[in-house]
């Protein structure tokens, strides 16, 4: 199955069943020229596995870091990425778009 159509929730659930600690990041809202629509997902495990994407690669690193933090704390987070956000410059949202990403754990 291709990257665009991969069932990320299904992958995350399978990892969970296999005993992994799994966090799930989901694009909840986009403005401007964000490369991936709302609903796009990235699954991350504490052991370092990743599946899916929430951007064209610009913010995956930052989101994965937050995902690991969420796995430690158990507290979901809503992240804002955009050109007004200093963090976005850091991670390089070159498209100039804005997006929000919700990060949660599969408990």
């Amino acid at each position: 199955m291709s990257a665009e159509t991969q069932d990320i929730l299904g992958v995350a659930a399978a990892w969970k069943r296999a005993g992994e600690q799994v966090a799930l990041a989901t694009v909840t809202e986009t403005w401007g020229s964000s490369p991936r629509p709302a609903g796009s997902q990235l699954a991350v495990t504490a052991s370092g596995k990743m599946a899916g994407s929430v951007s064209g690669g610009c913010i995956e690193g930052a989101v994965a870091e937050v995902a690991l933090e969420t796995l430690r704390t158990g507290i979901p987070q809503l992240l804002d990425f955009g050109i007004t956000d200093e963090r976005a410059w850091e991670v390089g949202l070159a498209c100039g778009g804005k997006l929000k990403v919700f990060v949660e754990t599969l408990a």
Partner: protein, 227 residues
């Protein structure tokens, strides 16, 4: 996501039931929709998300909800386990479509030729009666053989299938329409059939024809979702 929510969501998706996962933002409380106990506005927003096949955030009574729409996969019923089908079927699977191949000729319709998809060797009319094409189903006939294509197109026209395509030249298609007219289908109804099938990209090879068919399918699907 709680184990209970994940289990319920997984069960509904396995049963091919359309469902929305609603997440209250920023807190993260979740519920599945539709739900008789949920506010009507939330259920309506969920229905819209499923109809449009679009996830997104809505504000209701000062509360932001992210609605993730989980529709079952689009289905593609390919009639004719022919050479072009061998290119079309894996491409359709790559697009995330749920593909079924129908061909009563057992030498064509083998699992070796079509790994990882459902292959039915029933007659196309019987197969379509069983598969019941809905508004998220495409029916594509590829055999050129009226004995096989016509019954499939007849059933497809009597269904809400959103995409109906028939391989064949303009002349072949004109004769096909004459035969379907005799079965009682009006010109207006038969205008639903894409014939010759596919976008005109001057495709020559089987993979190129498959690209042209799937490009037309995608255009129909996306435009339909926004109509």
């Amino acid at each position: 996501m709680t184990p209970e929510t994940l289990a319920a969501l997984t069960a509904l998706r396995d049963a091919k039931t359309p469902v929305v996962l609603a997440t209250a933002l920023p807190g993260g409380a979740q519920r599945l929709l539709p739900d008789m106990e949920a506010p009507e506005a939330l259920n309506l927003a969920a229905k819209r998300a499923l109809d449009r096949d679009e996830s997104g955030t809505v504000a209701l009574d000062g509360q932001d909800w992210f609605l993730q729409a989980y529709n079952p996969k689009y289905r593609v019923i390919v009639v004719g386990a022919v050479h072009i089908a061998q290119a079309l079927v894996p491409m359709a699977a790559f697009l995330g479509l749920d593909v079924t191949v129908v061909d009563p000729r057992r030498s064509f319709a083998t699992d070796e030729r079509f790994p990882n998809v459902t292959v039915l060797t029933d007659w196309p009319d019987e197969a379509l009666d069983a598969l019941k094409p809905d508004s998220r189903t495409a029916v594509i006939t590829l055999t050129h053989d009226p004995k096989l294509d016509d019954p499939a197109l007849d059933r497809a026209l009597n269904s809400p299938a959103f995409y109906i395509g028939a391989l064949g030249s303009r002349r072949t298609h004109a004769r096909r329409l004459d035969r379907l007219r005799e079965l009682g289908h009006s010109d207006e109804a038969m205008a639903r059939i894409k014939g010759p099938v596919g976008l005109n990209i001057a495709a020559v090879t089987a993979p190129e024809i498959a690209v042209s068919i799937l490009a037309e399918f995608i255009a129909m699907r996306r435009n339909a979702a926004r109509a």
